[in-house]
């Protein structure tokens, strides 16, 4: 059980309001990702839910019970911190057992749960080591282990993968997703990385300066971003924005075309430009096209086989069926 409802929650530090009145419901068992650029208030929001910060006004309900004034330990939530926050002088076993010891649980039950968590997370071989002797990925798993033994109503993750190297990050992303499928517990995950958000989430909450820009499933956000900010934030590489006369043809102030929705050709197309840097990823190639007269650069994704040299003249054709149109206020049209 772990349905979390935020009702007109605000947070101010002194005079500065970092979270304006905000409503949000996180359903039981849902994997929700808070995503946004740094300083958008996503970590603060997570800490408000955890109870590590007091909310300035509003109400937080957990499973229909008002938890606004409940201390963090009593909310039944477990948190995995960015720095992992393992206790350096305790062994892995003691780290994982710590919340259970604090709950004065029976020793046999503690051992059972710790051993279970250790086998689920492949920690059995390191169980008597200290955190200082573990690698980043192993520490990450210990932190998750410490969270799962409590059998919480919901897990809170605060940028848990940002200290890992790229390869490990992909691996841990899968492990956390796998864990969610198995436990079916509510998870709230904070990240600035839209790839993590897209790959893991059931529901993405895009935040900017404390405001919720859009809430939806990854594909909803990808297919119909509500405004320019979400359109630019979700998707990699970034969506191309074109303003002016070209946009006016489509009755819009701005049109957005994703790099993967532009065809590139040496001979024919709607837009003409000159190839700048091309990034070859093997599977895909990204071309940065200049001098189109539309925007400074248009990014195009093409197949890995396609090859143009720096300075070549190319023609681009956007797919009109997946074109995004935005008004002068930045909001989506149609």
């Amino acid at each position: 059980m772990g349905r979390i409802t935020l009702n007109k929650v605000t947070k101010s530090f002194g005079e500065t309001q970092v979270i304006p009145p905000l409503d949000l419901t996180i359903e039981d068992g849902e994997f929700t990702v808070f995503v946004g650029p740094s300083g958008c208030g996503k970590s603060t929001l997570l800490r408000l839910i955890a109870g590590l910060e007091d909310i300035t006004s509003g109400q937080i309900d957990i499973d229909g019970v008002d938890a606004t004034a409940v201390p963090p330990a009593k909310r039944g939530l477990a948190m995995v911190f960015q720095s992992y926050a393992l206790y350096p002088h305790m062994s892995v076993r003691k780290n994982i057992a710590f919340p259970l010891r604090m709950a004065k649980m029976d020793q046999a039950e503690i051992d059972r749960r710790v051993d279970n968590a250790a086998s689920v997370l492949n920690l059995a071989d390191y169980i008597d080591r200290r955190p200082g002797q573990l690698s980043g990925g192993q520490r990450q798993r210990v932190a998750i282990g410490r969270a799962i033994v409590r059998e919480p109503a919901a897990f809170l993750f605060d940028e848990p993968l940002s200290n890992l190297d790229a390869a490990l990050r992909v691996g841990m992303r899968l492990e956390i997703s796998e864990l969610h499928k198995r436990l079916e517990t509510t998870m709230i995950y904070v990240t600035h990385d839209q790839v993590e958000a897209m790959t893991m989430a059931d529901k993405i909450v895009v935040l900017r300066a404390g405001f919720i820009e859009q809430v939806g499933s990854p594909l909803e956000l990808y297919k119909s971003p509500r405004n320019l900010f979400v359109a630019g934030f979700i998707g990699s590489p970034k969506m191309n924005f074109v303003e002016g006369a070209e946009a006016a043809k489509y009755d819009a102030h701005t049109i957005g075309v994703r790099p993967e929705h532009i065809a590139i050709s040496a001979t024919e197309g709607v837009w003409k430009g000159r190839v700048g840097v091309s990034e070859h990823l093997g599977s895909d190639t990204f071309f940065h096209v200049h001098d189109t007269g539309l925007a400074e650069t248009i990014t195009v994704r093409a197949d890995g086989e396609v090859s143009f040299r720096h300075g070549d003249t190319v023609f681009l054709t956007p797919r009109e069926d997946v074109l995004h149109r935005f008004g002068a206020d930045g909001l989506r049209i149609g």
């Binding site: 330990a73 911190f81 720095s83 926050a85 206790y87 710590f98 410490r146």
Partner: protein, 288 residues
Amino acid sequence: MATQSSRSAARLMMAPAVILLLGWMLAPLITTLYFSFRRYLPLRGGDQGWVGFENYTRFIGSSAFWPSIQTTLIIVGGVLVITVLLGIVLALLLDQPMWGQGIVRILVIAPFFVMPTVSALVWKNMFMDPVNGLFAQLWKFFGATPVEWLSQASLQSIIMIVSWQWLPFATLILLTAVQSLDGEQLEAAEMDGAPFIKRFWYIVLPHLGRAITIVILIQTIFLLSIFAEIFVTTGGAFGTRTLTYLIYQRVLESQNIGLGSAGGVYAIILANIVAIFLMRIVGKNLDN
């Protein structure tokens, strides 16, 4: 860095410092050892030749010897307990955000800058004087008979004075340790359901272990040789004669340099015994 020539150059460069340090340590040590085996009474016939271990047996056979060792250990132990315990409390309090933090921190450190002689004089005359002292006034205010601190509670008084001097040191070291504690660890423990006392016991105290070790080691070295506080207040009377003070009396009051030197050698041995014990007990904390 590790080529043959750079290594020999490094040795050559370090040599002056090493030689100076060795000379600095060895010269007084050898002089002390030399005099401890001689009968040397400056006012009664001067240097009168070798006497073997007579000075050593006389020093240890004196009725003042064992009590002086006991007094030394009581003072060192008492001051260590008080400064470490209060130091932890003060460090935790000073770590809290508060108004006027900078000034408060400077005030807390201030006693450390007062010379031992001066602080002992201030305590003796302004606080502990049985007629005019602040404590006496306080006692009288509540209708009690003023305590004659330096004669009735002489050892406790000296422990109090020395603790006051060393508390800032302990607080300072422990404060930096408290500040280096990762806040997320405390938050994690809070979410894990640990109330304040348990967070202190399981998270803060282990984190402070190394700093406490350093405080104990450094303070012990200095506390074994405290002198000014005793000289100024009780002059070694009322059971406050430490080993250091006993040596001083043998050399200057009895004018017996040989006997004092033998005492000095005992002091070195005592310091080493204490140091070995400390290293054994708390030195483990310095590992890893």
